[in-house]
């Protein structure tokens, strides 16, 4: 034993256990730091990818709604002209549309059957995350029922839980639909609700979707807006 030990001692010393331990501790500290940074970058990437997806889905929904509202038509052609709208509220707009109906040409013209259509936010439930739907009275029975076609346009819509202090009076929600019209002096102004009697005065619809792009984490909202001039509105 002694001779072997002496031999080894002379030839090479190696590292002691203490040195090894110290270096391992330091190495583990460094690798922990690297891993933490790595995970932070990973989650940041995932978050921004998720935000992009949500944002682009919401943008698609917005464009879809915009082109439908732009093409909305009055139910019947009369003089004076009727409004293409049937209801105008902050979270719901009802209008007559032949958009994507059989018989409609690709450019929106044609003899597609007009059907009452609505875009609305399902405000039921307590969750702040709401869903925006598109519904068409396809069976033409005048009511919204299970026989109608229903499409989800956007999810995670948080308009209803975000107060809007820019409008007078302030609202506890941010209207999805804001309607532009001319006041008695011919000046442009807006409101988020237009009574049935005044639907013909609508000249524009501003659609504003606020979606949460970072579910279950710190809320990160995408605020998307588009303004539409319905081309068949009487005052446009």
């Amino acid at each position: 034993m002694l001779s072997i030990g002496a031999k080894r001692g002379r030839r090479q010393a190696g590292v002691t256990l203490v040195e090894l331990l110290v270096s391992m501790i330091i190495l583990s500290i460094i690798s922990t730091m690297v891993i933490v940074v790595w995970f932070a970058l990973q989650s940041s990437y995932a978050q921004s990818a998720n935000a992009n997806d949500t944002r682009s889905a919401a943008r698609d929904a917005l464009n879809r709604v915009a082109s439908e509202i732009r093409d909305a038509q009055p139910q019947t052609i009369t003089t004076p002209a009727q409004a293409p709208f049937a209801m105008a509220g902050p979270t719901e707009v009802d209008f007559y549309s032949s958009y994507n109906q059989p018989g409609t040409a690709a450019n929106g013209s044609g003899t597609g059957t007009l059907r009452l259509t609505r875009v609305y936010l399902d405000t039921s439930g307590t969750s702040p995350y709401k869903t925006l739907y598109w519904q068409r009275d396809t069976n033409n029975n005048g009511t919204w029922d299970s026989g109608d076609r229903l499409i989800v346009l956007a999810t995670n819509v948080v308009n209803n839980s975000i107060a809007n202090t820019a409008v007078t009076p302030n609202t506890s929600y941010t209207a999805i639909f804001t309607y532009g019209y001319r006041d008695s002096n011919g000046n442009f102004t807006s409101a988020d609700t237009i009574s049935a009697a005044n639907l013909t005065s609508i000249i524009s619809v501003n659609i504003r979707l606020i979606v949460d792009t970072n579910l279950n984490h710190t809320p990160t909202r995408a605020d998307l807006q588009i303004t539409v001039r319905p081309r068949n509105a009487p005052q446009s």
């Binding site: 034993m1 002694l2 030990g5 002496a6 080894r8 001692g9 002379r10 090479q12 010393a13 190696g14 590292v15 002691t16 203490v18 040195e19 110290v22 270096s23 330091i26 460094i30 730091m33 940074v37 970058l41 940041s44 921004s48 948080v158 975000i162 809007n164 820019a166 409008v167 007078t168 941010t174 804001t178 532009g180 001319r182 011919g186 000046n187 442009f188 102004t189 807006s190 409101a191 000249i203 524009s204 501003n206 606020i210 809320p219 909202r221 605020d223 998307l224 807006q225 588009i226 303004t227 001039r229």
Partner: protein, 269 residues
């Protein structure tokens, strides 16, 4: 024990703790030097986000501006109106606050009537949205639009698609009412029959302005008023130094553009 001592003191190979520590310190310095790069990435990503928002806001405001009636847009107080929070029930205003956020974007409006005086042919509206700072230095997104006057009678200065349509004032505007004053010097020798005449010669046929002729003296100028802008030929018939035998004629061409004009003739020449 002896063996261990031998081992410990006979050390010529392997790293010592001191060496290791030095290595770690150097590695730490290198890592610390890399931190700013990571920070840059994070800042850049956040900067892109706020720039996107600024562009979105500018676009929305522009769309809404296009809905204003032309009389609202050409109103001199339009820039003030757009900046006020209550205008069109909150569709404009000088700030934008992202929902649920706390950093405020500044929005400013610039409205230019074209032409700047007289009947407006169109207005140019620019919206500038400045991002909040921090996280990064402020960035301004600017968008502009042109709104035509639906009742404009002239299309002579219709907007060009160039980014900054600034039609220069036409060198010879066709409207206006100016006065031309003709003075004579050297003596009262204007020809008492043919006198001084003023003819607008940039139109066909030429127009002789009334009253012509006039007979200005050294104490009383000839005055033609109510002249539209344009080019005029002023002819002065006189007798040089009063010598009746030598009737002479001299002319001057006057361009009247944006103000009254005064010319003088030296009757000793």
């Amino acid at each position: 024990m002896i063996m261990r001592k031998q081992l410990a003191c006979d050390c010529g190979d392997g790293f010592s703790l001191v060496e290791l520590l030095i290595t770690i310190i150097i590695a730490g310095v290198v890592f610390a030097a890399m931190v700013p790069f990571f920070m840059n990435v994070v800042t850049a990503s956040s900067r892109d986000r706020v720039r996107n928002v600024a562009t979105d806001v500018a676009q929305t405001r522009i769309e809404n501006i296009r809905l204003l009636s032309f009389s609202q847009l050409s109103d001199p107080s339009i820039a003030t109106n757009l900046s006020s929070a209550g205008f069109a029930n909150g569709q404009f205003g000088s700030t934008y606050m992202p929902p649920g956020g706390s950093s405020v974007y500044t929005v400013s409006y610039s409205v230019t009537n074209v032409p700047s005086t007289g009947a407006v042919n169109y207005v140019r509206v620019a919206v500038s949205v400045t991002t909040p700072s921090p996280p990064s230095s402020p960035y301004t997104a600017t968008m502009a639009t042109i709104v035509m006057n639906p009742s404009a009678t002239s299309n002579s200065s219709s907007p060009s698609p160039s980014p900054s349509p600034s039609p220069s004032p036409s060198p010879s505007p066709t409207t206006g009412s100016y006065t031309l004053t003709v003075m004579v010097g050297g003596g009262n020798w204007v020809n008492p029959t043919t006198g001084v005449t003023v003819v607008k010669n940039d139109v066909t046929p030429n127009v002789t302005e009334t009253p012509s002729p006039q007979f200005p003296t050294t104490t009383s100028n000839g005055v033609w008023s109510g002249l539209p802008a344009g080019q005029y030929l002023v002819t002065c018939n006189y007798y040089k130094n009063g010598q009746m035998s030598g009737p002479k004629t001299t002319t001057q061409t006057v361009f009247i553009t944006t103000s009254n004009a005064t010319i003088s003739f030296d009757l000793t020449q």
